[in-house]
Amino acid sequence: MSGYLTNPEARTWIIQASYFVTAFLFIMGLKRMSSPVTARSGIVWAGAGMLVATLFTFLYPGMGNYEWILPAIILGTALAWISGKRVAMTDMPQMIALYNGFGGGAAAAIAAVELYKGEAMSHTMGTLAVVGGLIGSVSFSGSLVAFGKLQGLIKRSFRFGGQQFVNIIVILATAVVGVFIITGWHADMFHVSLFFVLALVFGVMMTLPIGGADMPVVISMYNAFTGLAVAFEGFVMQNAAMIIAGTVVGSAGTLLTQLMARAMNRSLGNVLFSGFGDTGAAAASGPVTGSMKPIEASDVGVMMAFAQKVIIVPGYGMAVAQAQHKVWELCQLLIDRGVMVKFAIHPVAGRMPGHMNVLLAEAGVPYDLIADLDEINAEFETADVALIIGANDVVNPTARNDKSSPIYGMPILNADKAKNVIVIKRGQGTGFSGIENALFYLDNTRMLYGDGQAAAGQLIQAVKSV
């Protein structure tokens, strides 16, 4: 055995075989993650793949600097592991952004190590290293800005006249310096440094003007970017595991980004270059007639207890108020009374597609009670009560019929078709987009004012006392 391990050719063969196993485990893991039944084992498969590749990489012939490698791995793993365990479920999206930025940064670091060597590379290798470095750097700085925005560290969106023109200048300058490096004309330390600084600046400038509501799409896009950067650096390092894993993530991430943008009825270009998705950007549209009619919790309790079918429409507001546990407790009471209860999830409920499902799952709601827009929309007509808690724009009928509204055309949940609509709401303000909600003024709508958690608690008492 020791003979095998001292023979460089045998070692290389063992490493290649281990990368083959890793690629297989990654693809199987992702495949399993794409169905709710097998999803939980998927990450374990992928995790095993990562472990195999990392351990066998230590066998690389000619490797040294272990006194640098081991501390870096231990430190990075420990910090990320602890922060990942501690973060609240509502804050998951920004943590994904942060870890993704790290991956992009690592790909850029590999490019930097290769390019700073100043050794002559073939034009193909040089191009791959430079493009991978560019994408990785943009993903790194862009993801950090996305993290800052969702975490509330960066509060406003920075916009100025001619911003897109400036961005184009920056990316063109980056490309020109990149060409200098690839052709070997100016592949010196100054130009390589300038290249990375420009790429990092571009990532920041591209992300700063985008509003918080659009960040999920942007994070998904940077996720695909990082995958692509990893694949490109994989070509440079002649590393099949990086090429395969990076490319799979690059294409899967691109498709996922398109699906997310489509769920919001926006094109990717619209997300990146328009600027809606920011609070206050949209002016209030046409006048809404009628008035909001309040209701008491006890009346709602009776209404729900004697209903046949109740559909709950949760929004991010529910998660912020930490009301999901109380809401599920309420639903269990109703289910015990024989009421049919379902949760209707809009594709962009929460902060990311699927985020609300995770938050509900955390509260213990089984996923087979949760229906998405296409499944549930026909059912609202047969529902006795639609309970809206913390959701606003996703149930606004204005999106269906008012062409002047900024959310016109966005698919919405047809909560207004239910026999009774109950809206739990703090006060009379507008939603995240600043648009007046016509649903609140309908004849079959009643407003239950109060904090989400307190209101859900009152409803529990009301149902219990029926």
Binding site: G42, V113, V248
Partner: protein, 100 residues
Amino acid sequence: MSGIVALYIFMLAAFTGYEIIAKVPVILHTPLMSGSNFVHGIVLVGAMVALGNADTTLAKVIGFIGVFMAAGNAAGGYVVTERMLEMFKSSGAKRKSGGH
């Protein structure tokens, strides 16, 4: 690995990624994005090799940052995905395990 073989790998892997995601339900978008975020943590092996062969101090420092960040990507991506997926249980499974 010759250039053309690498190109074939690139093409086939791109189709694989597309096919895996194409039929996924919306409820799994966030966990899957997180899962794919973990998978590109494989950049760790490239960063390890880059640092393992570095001979100047500058290369070592950049390589160190690269390995540190790549390890953070892999470990953080794993923990966050695992925590999210932990919650996907059907009502049947929950009754069996004695939960609600």
